[in-house]
Amino acid sequence: MTKQMFRIAPGFEEIMPQEYRDLVTHGPYDRNVGVADLGTFKELLEEHPLCAGCGLALSLRLFLASLPAPADTVVVGSTGCSAIAFPQVGLHNIHGLFGNQNAIASGLKRALKLRFPDQPKDVVVVAGDGATADIGLEMVMHSWFRGENIATVMLDNEAYANTGGQESGMSPRGTVLNMAPTGKKFEKVAMPEIAREAGCAYVATTSPLHARRFEKAIRRAILVARDVGSTYVQVFCPCPTNYKFRPDETLSVIRKREKEGVFQYREYITPQAQEYLAAVEGEKQ
């Protein structure tokens, strides 16, 4: 996309909403901005209805600021809290159904590859833990088996938050949630390991606590997906509403897990992806 596309026709500036004008005058398209520049440009996400202190919302903000080419990025989402925020995102984004996000993204990416062979169009899946590890796992894994050129980002808030806090495959063992009234009986689904075994070229776990590290994982995942193969980033972003902590504790909850060693930052890169990243990251510097 060129910025020309959404420029306001002369004479119509007055009737366009302020948010749109802001996006045109100082939005992130075609500008090399990142999370370090947050606060200095108009973000792609407009006011969203997610809860105060939402770790997922914070992750979405950081995610959108991390995109290597926002003007050519299409996001495929799924049912869940992130789907409530996505109608307010200044990108083409698709809400298909619950769980089929990686299937839709597979078809979309292939179509865009055929239509725009010389112009990278980044197709990124952003979905919750329920959509990724439970109801959509089959389609997530098969997109990886096929090596689709898409990045999959799981916003792991460890529950079905949008429907009122039910246990998901990513809830920690023992957690008492709706539909797990005596506590969850099994461990978090080992998604990073599954991703690696399923053939992902790049796998990372991260959290919004460390914004720069978060940005690096997202950028790497998207770049590797462009040319090497499927990639996966798992973002730990706790939910104050359903885990019943104060909204200002979201980041300290992550820090606590980090200290306990329960949550770890990990990165797995195939040699081919490593080589690719060395080339593109070297280019940048």
């Binding site: 200044g90 159904l97 089929n100 839709i104 979309l108 169009k121 089959e138 098969h142």
Partner: protein
């Protein structure tokens, strides 16, 4: 691989100057249609009695006629994948049937709501437990209200023509909703008959995403608040009103397709002796069985005509009302237990006690013409 030329108009492919007659199965007729359809992608998943058709589409990919083709992981996934591809702005094709249709079901209303001009063949078969792989059109009852246009092929010739023409109907700017092309499993897919096909070196003009009433999801257009269901995540009057009007718009798109169904299929239905005392109204294989029954009935002096439904959505309401006005009885033979076609007809005609929802055959049985004849005979005393 035959060097293909893009036709100047769709009509060159849909109504070719010359046709070649070949002895082929319904599955092969699908292949022949897809060969001339200029699709960009096809995605497949096996299910009897559909599998052969998508094997053959796969062969077209291997030969270089289709740029991309793969096997998805389930029907739900495949229907999602073709949706993704269609949103990406390309012409796509897939096929399924029976349990596959039901497994994928959640996507069909989405296709319509997303205004995707996907063409999908449905090769009908039994879906209920106990398991059957045999012909049964019950899945069509479930699909009647998904928003898609529904065409029902009688035989392999229809299947070839309808599949090609489905693209022309689906992709009209004022329509732009999915078209399901239905054919009875085995009776059509596995039956070999003569089919007249156009020249293989000519294909449809390509799909133009810029003529779509909703933009392709390719970040080549204005991105702000750009979602196909933009307001439903809000809880206010305007969001409900937007959702409601969107649904009406999808229904209106189907209504607007009528003129194209007339243009490309010559009407939503076809008739033979429409002024007869008794009318058989049928779709799919039931039409074929009825044709034989009518010959037998006429030999016995029974005055019977035939109404063949080619298009079930939109439903030819006015046409049926007009045709029914003089008929003393309307016999509706069906290959399913629920009698959805009889239901549809009863809902629109005056004095619907004239509508006989029989015979009905299901569970993989065939429908002998004699069975329809018996039903026609039973109508005679009442009509004299």
């Amino acid at each position: 691989m035959i060097e293909q030329r893009v036709a100047r108009t769709a009509g060159e492919v849909l109504e070719p100057a010359r046709r070649e007659r070949r002895f082929m199965t319904g599955s092969e007729a699908v292949k022949e249609a897809i060969l001339r359809s200029n699709i960009t992608m096809a995605i497949a998943y096996p299910i009897t009695p559909q599998s052969e058709s998508m094997h053959l589409v796969g062969d077209l990919y291997a030969e270089g006629y289709i740029p991309d083709y793969f096997r998805g992981e389930s029907e739900f996934a495949v229907m999602s994948q073709v949706a993704g591809a269609a949103m990406g702005g390309v012409r796509v094709f897939t096929a399924t049937g029976g349990p596959g249709t039901l497994r994928a079901f959640e996507m069909f209303p989405c296709w319509a709501g997303m205004r995707l001009p996907i063409v999908c063949c449905f090769f009908t078969r039994g879906v209920n437990s106990p398991l059957s792989i045999q012909p049964d059109t019950i899945e069509m009852a479930f699909l009647l209200d998904t928003g898609m246009i529904m065409l029902h092929a009688e035989g392999a010739q229809d299947l070839y023509d309808f599949t090609l023409r489905a693209f022309a109907i689906a992709e009209q700017t004022d329509v732009h909703i999915p078209v399901g092309v239905f054919a009875d499993g085995f009776f059509v897919t596995h039956t070999r008959e003569m089919v007249a096909v156009g020249p293989p070196d000519l294909k449809l003009p390509p799909y133009d995403p810029h003529r779509s009433p909703v933009p392709a999801m390719d970040m080549e257009g204005v991105p702000v608040r750009h979602m196909r269901d933009p307001f439903v995540m809000k809880s206010n009057f305007i969001s409900y009103a937007a959702h409601a009007s969107w649904q009406q718009e999808v229904m209106a798109a189907a209504e607007r397709s009528r003129k194209y169904v007339h243009q490309y299929l010559g009407g939503l239905l076809e008739t033979e002796d429409e002024d007869a005392d008794i009318l058989i109204m049928a779709a799919g294989t039931a039409v074929s069985q009825s044709r034989e029954a009518i010959q037998l009935a006429r030999a016995q002096g029974i005055d019977v005509g035939l109404v063949k439904f080619k298009c079930l959505r939109p439903f030819p309401t006015e046409e049926v009302q007009h045709l029914a006005r003089r008929a003393r009885a309307i016999v509706v033979p069906e290959f399913n237990r629920v009698g959805w076609l009889a239901r549809e007809i009863k809902a629109v005609v005056d004095d619907n006690s004239r509508v006989v929802g029989a015979p009905r055959v299901f569970g993989g049985m065939t429908m002998p013409s004699e069975m329809i004849l018996a039903q026609l005979k039973a109508c005679v005393p009442a009509t004299r």
